[in-house]
Each structure stands twice: as structure tokens, then as C-alpha cells.
Symmetry: D2
Subunit: 382 residues, 4 copies
């Protein structure tokens, strides 16, 4: 941990105050641009210091707040609203003021990335303002769904290589394979972060449901591309912006990509994932279970159905797909034979199936009572 550069932090805070005091729009824009630059010049430690100061010095006006509290009548909406305004922090206005400048949105996303990388509990009010602000700015209504392919600018494609979180893209040749005729890739983009995906998903179009990620990634594209495919497999979904953690886009992305694929390729009848089980090995080791090939699938099924936290599956990937209304369709031993796959789940992978007809019912059963939908193959296992 380096020492914060206190001078820089102070200069930055002074600019923050000046920006909030300024009335003239043109001057505000100029000052906001300066501030964006100052924020970019702070290292992580100094930014942490700044966050601490924002917590203390940029809350709501105590005077206004006390006045609003003294007067408040909870049965009068206007009075409650006055309290709400009086409790709105200067931070909130500051973030809005910064956003006016080019690069302002990115600056706030970065600020939250640092806040999360350090400890948000060190500056909980600031962390809350950051999240609330970004949640509003990155409302799905402001995002655009875009297809990513080999026609996409290289400057965007290199972001895929950088951000791919599930199955590393090892080279431009590997990337090109993932954008071939029997593959699809889609991302959400925000107008203020041009060329920067917020999240993206990779899809394989195949005949039948794939049971192994190494086969799926390693096989050459069939000559007729997507023509014969009946199955779309979501095999990787990556959030790109650390500063947007917890502001979820994944469910909507899956839904809208499913719709886009249905429209483009009516012959697709099966929509599934090929997903890791990040916690399987740890759970098996805890329970003294061995990765006996004959028993591995059964262990995985038990892990998915029985290992819980707060009445929902322990496995975070399972929680995500089950809440979306998918069902556990198949368990694939030897699904991921890489060292990483072996380390997290003895190589087991799962297909979660997104079946249009049962999605809503599954979702409701799951959210209301924790019921986990399973397909016949998994049913047979247990």
C-alpha cells in the first residue's frame, strides 16, 4: 500500500467544492473536465483517501437536514419530499456535475471500481451514492444490444480478449474462431462508454447439446456454418466493468439474445448453457467425497440440489440460472478437463436449459419456494 498523495487529494477536493459552487454552465463544464483529469491522475491509495473525505465532507447540509427534520410531517407528501431533498448528499450532485464532462461517466465507474477494490464499508454512504447513481445511469433503457462479430472494430474486439472471464481467449485466432459462422456474440453497450462492452455473452450454434467445453472451443466450424444447428448454447457470459458490480444485466442479456436468435434462426429449438460448478470440488472435499467417475455425476446433482445457503443453492452459477427460470438439464463429467476445471469441479459442467414454455413457472416456483427445476436425465440420476 502506497501513501496517499495528500496534496493531490486536497487539490481534487477543492475542485470538487468549486464545481458544486459554480453556477455558470459553461464554466461548470470546464471545471468538470479538469476534475475528470484529476481523478484519473490519482492512484488507488489517494482515491481511497478521497472517498473517505467525500464520506465526511460531502454529505447533505446538516443545517438543511435539521430544519427538514424539525418540520417533517410524515402524512404530507411534500414535507416528506423536502426531507428527501434535504437528505440528498452533495456527493450525489457532485457525481451528476462530473458526468457533464467528456469521460465523466467513466470517471464515476472507475471511482466505484476503486471503492469496491478497497473496502466500501470504509465509506458506506459514498458507496451507496455511487451504486445508486450508476444504477440509474446504466438503466437497461439506456443500453443498446449489439452483435459483435469479425466485422466489429478491432478496438472493441480486444476488449473481449481482456474481459473474457470464463474461458480465456488465448489469441486472435481463438477469438476469430469464437466469432465464426456457427458462433454468435452479443453485448450491451452504453452511449457514454463508446466501444466498451458493459457485458457480453458468447453462443455456440450446434447440432445437439454440447457436453464439453474443450470440444466446443476446439472444433472447427462446420462448412455450412449455422445452417444445421438446432441448439444455441450460452457458454460464456462476462461482466466487463468492475465498477458496475452488482448492477446486473445478465438475465436481460440472455433474454434478449434468445429473442434475437429466435428471430434470426427459427430452426433453433433448444437454448441451454454450458456452465461451470465453481463450488463442487470444495463441497465434495468437505464431505469426503471422491471423484469416482461412476459417482461424480450423482455427487454433482446432490451438490446442486442439497448444498444450500439461505434456502437457495450454494452454487452461484446455479442460483443465477435457476432464478432466471432455467432448469438443470444435464450433468457432464469431463465437461472441462482444463486444470482450472479440474480444480473447481473435478471437470464437471452443467447444461441449464432455458425452455420458453416453463421459464416463468420455474422462476416463480424457485423465488417463492426454492423449488429447483430439473430435467428427466437429472431426475434419473437421483
Amino acid at each position: 500500500m502506497t501513501t496517499p498523495d495528500l496534496d493531490r487529494v486536497e487539490v481534487t477536493l477543492t475542485t470538487c467544492r468549486a464545481l458544486l459552487a459554480m453556477r455558470d454552465d459553461a464554466s461548470r463544464l470546464q471545471l468538470a473536465a479538469q476534475l475528470v483529469q484529476r481523478l484519473a491522475d490519482l492512484d488507488e491509495t489517494s482515491t481511497g483517501r478521497l472517498l473517505g473525505r467525500l464520506e465526511i465532507d460531502f454529505g447533505p447540509s446538516r443545517e438543511h437536514l435539521e430544519k427538514a427534520l424539525a418540520d417533517v410531517d410524515l402524512s404530507v407528501p411534500a414535507s416528506v419530499q423536502r426531507l428527501h431533498r434535504a437528505s440528498t448528499s452533495a456527493r450525489h450532485r457532485l457525481f451528476e456535475a462530473i458526468n457533464v464532462a467528456p469521460g465523466g461517466t467513466e470517471a464515476i465507474v472507475q471511482l466505484r471500481a476503486v471503492s469496491l477494490a478497497l473496502d466500501p464499508n470504509d465509506h458506506p454512504a459514498t458507496a451507496d451514492d455511487l451504486e445508486t447513481t450508476l444504477r440509474s445511469w446504466f438503466n437497461r433503457g439506456f443500453l443498446t444490444l449489439e452483435r459483435i462479430g469479425w466485422q466489429t472494430p478491432a478496438s472493441v474486439l480486444e476488449k473481449l480478449i481482456e474481459y473474457e472471464a470464463v474461458h480465456e481467449i488465448t489469441s486472435w485466432a481463438d477469438l476469430r474462431r469464437r466469432l465464426d459462422r456457427d458462433r454468435r456474440c452479443f453485448g450491451f453497450f452504453h452511449p457514454s462508454l463508446p466501444g466498451e462492452p458493459v457485458i457480453f455473452v458468447q453462443v455456440a450454434l450446434t447440432r445437439g447439446m454440447p457436453d464439453s467445453i474443450q470440444t466446443l472451443l476446439g472444433s472447427p466450424a462446420p462448412q455450412d456454418g449455422e445452417i444445421g444447428a438446432d441448439t444455441a448454447t450460452f457458454y460464456s457470459i462476462s461482466n466487463c466493468q468492475v465498477g458496475l458490480r452488482g448492477i446486473s444485466f445478465g438475465s436481460l442479456l440472455l433474454k434478449q439474445v434468445t429473442e434475437a436468435l429466435r428471430a434470426e434462426l427459427p430452426q433453433l429449438s433448444v437454448f441451454v448453457t454450458l456452465s461451470p460448478l465453481p463450488g463442487l470440488r470444495a463441497w465434495m472435499d468437505d464431505h469426503g467425497l471422491t471423484p469416482d467417475p461412476a459417482e461424480l455425476a450423482r455427487h454433482a446433482a446432490r451438490y446442486l440440489l442439497e448444498a444450500t445457503r439461505s434456502d437457495r443453492p450454494l452454487d452461484p452459477v446455479a442460483r443465477f440460472h435457476l432464478r432466471n427460470g432455467a432448469r438443470i438439464e444435464r450433468i457432464n463429467i469431463d465437461g472441462d478437463t482444463s486444470p482450472h476445471g479440474s480444480a473447481q469441479s473435478y471437470g464437471v459442467m452443467v447444461n441449464y436449459r432455458y425452455d420458453h414454455a416453463t421459464l416463468v413457472a420455474n422462476h416463480e416456483a424457485y423465488t417463492n419456494s426454492g423449488t429447483i427445476a430439473i430435467g428427466p436425465e437429472v431426475e434419473a440420476l437421483i
Copy 2:
């Protein structure tokens, strides 16, 4: 005034509640889309009724708020922030939820347009939430500056005809003249309102400062277009979205258009407006002054310099430009000989000059002490 369609209002409110209760993102999107349609189907009276119900029924949770109030410790940022969250209304979350759907942004803009057309004081908390929400969404950082010309889609150009608020565009031929080689038009656009300008400004490029709007609008384009021009005159600036009233973009638009013109045409040395004096005639009539041509310019100067409200000029157009740092450069009798021009100001118009070198000083003198900057010609008048 028609009777509100109470059934429709209730169905809409029920959808609002369902939307807030829903957890699944995909279902929320679907419900939000329904709600956008329902809102569009309400007439003004019914929407007014809805606004009243949002005021009462969609505030913050009283229970949470009481709890936060009981606990609050104003010296602890996290505690204050909890109060802030507890005081955030369900309306606010509702607007965010609606925005997820296509057309959602427009629906909220329209809701505020109706709120303003009726009486915002009938639902002050709702009106405040609407304004705060839209102010955040329409942050300048999310707007793009775009040049509008004869190459622009007709679907956008017809909006200019519809929205032009200052000097009516009488035909497509008139519009075309305003987009000719010696003219410029720029607007701010928002990604969620594609093809809909938020505000636009019309500029004439001329040799010398124009003194009459009818000459400016009526003269044919010179053969060499903008080549010989030394002056850019902002002769019309129109806000397009009633629902964004009070969320000002004008100052920034002028500033950025000035920069864009400077970059395109370095030979431009004078940036002025040709502006109306909307309150001159009423003020003169109140003071028993007659439109004697020999005295009219002097009356106008007195009106600008002496007629005040809260220590600032009475005239709203003067207030806008002076606050931006412009100075009163010239008073033009016979500036607008149309019936409208005559009715509002006995035909007088004003050039406000945006002089780069003095803009900031003028702005500060004006905002600090109300000092009004004037050019030598106006000085000579008084």
C-alpha cells in the same frame, strides 16, 4: 375538462404496483412495456388523476421512514444515508423501472409534460421526483451535439418545423433556406429519444451584424455561401420537449456551437444574437411611453437596464444572455416588423454579443452584483 377514466387509472396503478413488486428482470421488462402503453392511452385528465394517486400512494414506505428517523444520528454518514434511502419514494423506483422498456424515457417526459400543463402544486412530491429523475437522465454528458442540415432525415427536419418557437418556419422552402450554405443549425439529442431534438439553435453567417430578422430570413443565400462571413448570429433557439422545461440546455448549446463554428470557420470574429424583447411593449405601455421612432431605442435601453425583478432585468431573454456573460451590443428598431414583433416590443430587437475575452468577467459581475455589460453603441444611447 373531461372526467378521468377511473377504471383505466386503477388498472394503470395496479400495473405500477405489480412492476415494483416483480423481481425477475425479464418479467419486469414485459410489464414495463405494458405500462408504457397504458400511460400513452390515458388522456390528460386521467393522467392528472394518476399523478394525484402517485403523490399519495407511491411515497416512501412510512414504516421504513419512521424506523430510519427513530435511529438517525446526523453525525454518522451511514445513518444519514439510511434516512436518505428510506425517504426515497416508490415513485422514483417506478420511473426507473418504466425506463427499462422501449419508449420508457419518452413516457416519463410525457408524464412531466402533463404534470406541468396541469398544476404541479397539485402533486408537488411527484413533480419533484419527475424533475430530479429527468435532470439526471438528461445530464449534458448523455446528450450529443449534432449538426442539422439538408442532409438530415426528413423525419427530424419536420420536428424543426413543429418545434421552432421563435420565428415560425412557414414551409419546407423556408426550412431549406434556413439550412442553406450561409446558415447553420445544431441540436442536442438524447440516445433514448432518437430523431427527437431536445433543443436546437439556428445560426446565420453574414458579413456584419444583422439588424432585422425579416431581412435575415428573407434574403437569398449569397453565391459564395459562408465564405465571406465574419459574424455568426444566433437568431432562434427552441426547446423542443415540454416535459423538460426548467432543465436548461441553452447556455451549453450556445457555448458548444460557438466552439464548433470557430473550429470550422476561423474567419468568424463576431458571435451575437438577434433577440426579441418580449416585455418591452407592456412595460412602455405601463409607463405611458409612446413608440416614437426617435425615442424607441432609448426606451428599450432603459427597459433593459432599469426594469428589474429581484435585482435582475425583467426581460427573460436579457436575463438568459446576460447571465451567460454576453453584453448588450446594439438595439435595433424595426428589428422585427411582423405583427408579433410589433405586439411584443414595437418591433425592437437586440443583439447580445458573446465576446470570448469578456464572457467570464461579465458573467461574474452579473451574477455577483447584477452589473449589466453594454457595448459602446448602447452606452452612447444612455
Copy 3:
């Protein structure tokens, strides 16, 4: 007829010679740009004079040609090819050299427009070179099919108003109606004439086959736009560039628009035209036939089937559609009640039907033996 400006013509010819003599690409480009300007500055009479000089002075080199003729051995391809090269005129190389400059393509199109407006027989070799050159440049492979709508730049839309040759577009409101949801418009464009349609066709989407142009143009768009339509009617097709006369694009445009509509709207089952009969009235008057309403349709049918020139129908519109393989589907009296419609055909219009299943057979029967395809309604008439 004005007198040609001989000095200008000579200067232009000198530039032509210099351009052909120049070897350096960069200098050629500069000279070509000058020449484009000089050509634009010539009036029609002077251009006519220029065309005459191109005919005499810019043929092939007589010396080379005589040499090639002396040597020629018709059984040796290379020898024949040498003759071909030797017989290629300097004009041809000149047109290619001009095309290098911006605006060069347009300059040659304009040159042919003047050639056609005067008498091509005054300069037959030049006229032939112009046609051959433009036919190659405007090969269908170089044209793009583009949909034209209300989203299209106004600068392109005003060309529709200018070029519409069949049913005048009377205003921007009229134009907008023609681009409404139940209408389509498509054009061919050439990359070197940006924003300039080469040809465009207007289509109405209706329930049933329209029998009257005034009803079709005057009716408001149905609320559900194109949703209920089963019929696409090509009601106007306009060539835009006089200089491309005789280089036909109409058949391919109809074919490709039909395909585009089929892909967009699979519910369309009938593709027809609503076409004028330009020569009906003159023919009836020649034959002493009266426009008795009870007999008019029968007269029109006889005109179409019996009035011929070189064994094909006299009517040029009929010749175009029948050669394309369409059949005469219906004769509509009162199809065009405008003065123009009355003057050319006593108001009669015809639907030619493009029926996918019979198009090729019809085309072949027509081109081989002049057989005219007719539908049952017309059959019943005769």
C-alpha cells in the same frame, strides 16, 4: 439557339488534349478536375459544338488504325484484338481520364444528356462512345438498391419531387403520404452519384388490387399500416438521369423490389402495377372510336392486343411489362380521372400482374412469338 462560345470550346478542347498527353497521375487528376469545371461552364450550344469536335478530332489514330488494318489476320485473336485497340477512339480514353476527378462521372452523364437533347446523329461515334462508356460504368453490379423513406435525408427526398415522372408529387405533405407505413419506395443508387437516385419505384400496399390512381394517392394510410395488405402495386417508376436514357434499370428494379418485399412481408401474394396507357386516346381517335363507358374497356383491350408496331404492342408501357413476363390482369376505366389521364387514355389504366409462377414462361412466349399473356377478366372482355 444561342451562338457557341468558340473560345471556351477551344480552351476546353485544349484541356482535353493536354489531359490525354499527360503521363503523371497526380497532374492528370488536377487537369481532369479543371476539365470537369470547364464542361460545367459550357452552355448547351457550346457543348454541342464540343461534341462535334470530339467526333472529328478525337477518334482513333488514323495511322495506328491503318497499320492494324494492313496487318489484320481475322483468324488470329491477337491480331483482331490489335485492330480493336487501334479502333478505340481517343474519346473513350478521354472519358475515362475525366472520370478520375470528383464530379467526373456526373460530367459524362451530363455530356450525354446534352448529346441526346441535341441530335446524337450529328455526332454518332461520340454518342456511341458515351453510351458504351456509361453502360459499363452503370452496370447493375455497381448499383445499390436502397429503401427510401421518411428517414431518408431531405436532400434525397427533394430529388423524388423533382424526378417523379408519372404522377406529380405536389408537396412535401403529398411526398410524406407516399412514404407512409402502407407505402414503399426503392431506388438504385451509384457510388459516384451520391444522394442521386438513378431510378426509383413507388409501391402501394393494399388489400386487393387498386383500380384508380386518384383513390390510391388520395386515401389516408390505414391505422395498421401495411399489416392487412395482400397486394403490392407498383404505381410509378421514374428514371432520374436523362443522360442514362436507354440504359435500362427498370426490369431489375422491379425484380429486386419484389424480392425485398416478399422477404419483408410474406403475406403479400399479389404483385401488380397500376399503369397508364399513353397511346390509347390517339389510337381510338385515329380509329374513330368514342369513349363510350360501356365500350371503353373493350377498346382498351383491343388497343393492347391488336395495335402493334414490329409485331409487338404499340403501347410502350405494355411492351415494357409484357417483355418482363407480366400479364394484362385488369382494365380500369376511370383509373385516372385527371386532365392528363383523360388526355392520354380517356382515363383508362391497366393492372399488369407479376405472377412469379408464370413470369419466365410469359417472357419467353412474348419474346419468341409475341404472345401476350392476359388474365381471365381481360379474356372475358374479348
Copy 4:
């Protein structure tokens, strides 16, 4: 050499004949599309066979040609023109007919690539028709100059890697370096070959004139990118389409890129190349000269100035730049220390300078009398 697939060749020739016989535009389009496919399916040997048949069977009609020859009066332009038309081969019409189909232009470019790869003298008339046709289609007026950067689609960028002819691009990282802020890349594109550069040039922006390709390619981008640069160095120019060999675009590309750079970066004052001397080593070896470092520059100067073919320098790169009007500015020993550089020129490279003020005079002196322009440094050498 494989055996030609005679059946395929015959089927292709039959389709060619059918295409020329067809009158209906729609059917022609269909047939042309078939023919494009058939041509793509022929291997090189079979295509060679086809070219031979086109030579014999698809010339002009002997009957028409004899008739035109019998009649010809060389003093009558129309008569000469008739001879020209009669001598136009069926091949020429065939190429135009193929071009109507999607992929048609590319098919003809490929056909010429095979013709050049085999021996054009085996089918001289066909080779001549191919060249004439492509020269017309790829007229500079139909090409667009486009900047290529890291924002360019990856599908275009991979073409750079494929086509780079001078200094191999070894990886995507290498490519990215070449598109960094202190580099520029421009290409000519043709509308019928979308995403396919016809030619491209790579430029380095530096302080001072670079003397070594390995330094230029290996140095990291300066922090301030192109800001401090005063020199633009064209260090690689690659023709991409084998089928367009001999149809030169290089001179115009250099000229237009120079103009584009001048407009973007007025501070650039020196435009040079860093070019290889492909024939130096062979010439030195022939003359028994050794690569003694003290003498190498002098040998290179003698090679450039004295080694000639047809009164012009033997070195093809020198011929190209000198004809463009550049001068030999500097000779750099150790300019290219790669094995390839050593093998062709003992590592020597040359800067040719494009000096706006002397370009035209140099070009004329060179083309008229073979005078070679040299700068003072080279002058001092000799």
C-alpha cells in the same frame, strides 16, 4: 500441374454462351450468379483451359467484322465506330454480363489473377480484354480513400496482415503498433469489393527523417503520439489484388494521403519514404563490389544513378518514386538489417523525398530527359 476438368470447363462455357444469348434482365442476373459460382469452382488448370477457349470462341463475330471491314471508310467517324463495335469481342460483353451478379467484379479480378499466374501470352486477346475491362471498372473515380486504424473492422485489418508485401506484419500486436497514434494507414477501396483494400500505405510520423526500418518498427509510440512530429514517412505500400497488377494506384494514393496528412497535421513539413533497393546486391555482386561499410553508400548512389535499363534506373522502386517527382534524399546503410534486407541490398535503404515545391519540375525533367533529382547529402556522396 493438374489435368483440367474438361466437363466443368464445358459446362462453364455453355453457361457463358447462354448468358450472352439471354435477353431478359432478371434471367440474366440469375444466370450470371450461377456463372460466378462455376468460375469459383474451377481450379487453376481448368481456368487456364477456359481462358484458352475464351480466346478462340468468344472473339468478335467474324461475319460482322468482315462486313465492317468491307465497308470501312476511315474518313467517316461513324464508319470507324462501326468497325470498332464489330471488333469488340464477346468476351467483353461476357465480363460486363458477369459483373451484374453479386461477386461478379471479384470473379473477373480472380480470372485475371489466374491469367497472370499462368501465361497471358497463351491467350493475349483475352488478357487484353481483362485488363481493359478492369482498368475501366477500377478507375480512380470509383475508388474511395479510407483511413485504416484500430477502429477498423478486424475483418479488414486481417487483410493488412495478409497483403503486407514489404515488411511482414508478424502479429496482431505488431499490427496494433502500426496503427498507433504516431502512425497512419490509408487505403483505396472499391464499392464492389467491400472490406477489401485495393492498395494501402503505411506512414510513420516522427521527429526527423528515419534511417532504419527496424528502429522505426520497433520503437514504442511516444506518449504525445503525433504531436511533435514534423516528418511523415511512407514506409510500406502494398498492392492487394494480384488480378489488378499493372493497373497502378500507387502514385495517386501517395498524393492523396499527403494531402490528407497536410490537412490533418499542418506541422508536418517533410514527406519522405523509407524504401528498399531490391536490386543493389545483385548489381554489386555483378560488378564485384564488396559491402565495405565505408563504401556502401557510394556504391548505392552509383547503383541508383548509373545502373539503367532503357535510360531509366534499373531499380524498380527508384523508377516509381523518381517518376512521381521525388528526389533521392538520403542513403542509409544499416537501414534494414533483416536477412531479407541484407540479401537484397546489404541492408541499405533510401529516403525518397516528396517535396511539394519541386515535384512537378522533377517529374518533367525525369520523364522528358531521365534527369534524376538528388538532395545535397547524396550530391556530397558522389
